[in-house]
């Protein structure tokens, strides 16, 4: 009987001990986006001490001096100019009902790229710029554009251009759903998928600067700041949606639908951890 009591109290003491340790365990697991972003930026600036923080937005071109020279040459005759012109024209042209894109956005849609994605507390979900543009069209009786084609690229190119140099300023409101969306995006980013068993991080965290076939891998820090991009390989422009789906198929994974919850959350996460880095879109790539 006595030993049984001893045993019980020992068990209790153990339980108390592990309870005492709990707050730390919880702390380590509690989402802390600000700490994530700090660690993320530290990882890349330490890995590439010669690259200035703001230069990470130039993707593969930030990775070495030769590439940087190529980029400077390219920027003299930017191959995305045609898209920018088209986007500007489209943006200004009223819908059939007389309204226009400007009516759907804060500050008439000018200089606001750095705030996207936003978290819509009414819907309880992440809203990307591409999604907001199509919602604007639909609210005004226009058919939505394909997320992976030229029209969407042109519109986002123009909106990025009017925001060039503004630091990314993604907000996570005090709403558990926003934190959950952020966490889901993070999980998506680090999760291995496809027959090749790669995560986004396998390429863009573990191997930036390395070559894969003919391409130099962009670092994950600032990876969305230059979107949309002109790519010689595509012979045209690509949106964020196009880039996400392409990166999924090249590891032999079936891409999700553009603007699925997963991709929206992924964009939220990747944009948040690049807070402070400037908008540089539209971009040009090899």
């Amino acid at each position: 009987m006595r030993s049984a009591i001893h045993f019980a109290s020992a068990a209790l003491a153990l339980a108390a001990l592990s309870f005492g340790a709990m707050p730390f365990a919880v702390a380590a697991d509690t989402p802390d986006p600000a700490a994530d972003a700090k660690a993320f930026q530290k990882f890349f600036t330490e890995k590439f001490p010669k690259v200035k923080l703001d230069d990470f937005v130039n993707g593969p071109y930030s990775m070495n001096e030769d590439m940087h020279r190529q980029w400077e040459e390219k920027e003299q005759f930017p191959p995305y100019d045609f898209s920018l012109d088209l986007g500007k024209e489209m943006f200004a042209k009223p819908f059939k009902n007389g309204k226009s894109y400007a009516d759907c956005f804060p500050n008439q849609g000018i200089g606001i790229r750095q705030n996207y994605p936003t978290f819509d507390e009414k819907e309880g979900k992440v809203v990307t710029l591409e999604l907001a543009l199509n919602r604007c069209r639909e609210a005004n009786g226009e058919a939505p554009f394909s997320y992976v084609k030229d029209e969407m690229a042109a519109l986002t190119a123009y909106m990025a251009f009017t925001s060039r140099g503004k630091p990314f300023d993604i907000k996570i409101p005090n709403d558990p759903r926003a934190l959950e969306a952020y966490e889901n995006g993070k999980r998506y980013f680090y999760t291995r998928r496809g027959q090749l068993n790669f995560s986004c991080a396998s390429c863009h965290v573990q191997n930036p600067g390395e070559r894969i076939r003919a391409e130099v891998l962009a670092p994950a820090l600032g990876i969305l700041n230059a979107m949309p991009i002109y790519r010689s390989e595509w012979g045209g422009m690509g949106t964020i949606s196009r880039r996400f789906t392409t990166c999924n198929s090249q590891i032999r994974g079936v891409p999700l639908e553009p603007q699925s919850d997963e991709y929206r959350d992924l964009e939220y996460y990747l944009s948040y951890v690049s807070n402070g880095l400037p908008v540089s879109g539209p971009g040009a790539r090899p």
Binding site: R192, Q195, S199, A201, S202, Q206
Partner: protein, 110 residues
Amino acid sequence: MSGTGRANVLKSLALATTMLIAGAASALAGASEADFKAAYAAAEAANKQAASLRNQWTPTAAALAAAKKAAEAGDFDTAVASSQEAEALAKASIYQARSEKDAWKALEIH
């Protein structure tokens, strides 16, 4: 039951036995359309499960397409083999999605 009815039952029993044997011998040789259908359905079911985990692989879809094409050409041996390949790929993608449920954390930057 009429005489022809009984004959039919016997016939289908014989067919079922042949099918069982063929099923066991699997992709070796002499697969029937029914073998293909069963193998294809199993592969599709696994791939559907992968879809619900949001983790389908493109080679699974390619193997399913190859299976269908072979079946249309009457080549049921190939059709069954490709279906089985598709099922194995789909199962691997399911396994991957499940093991990544926690494993992803190992890659995270802290």
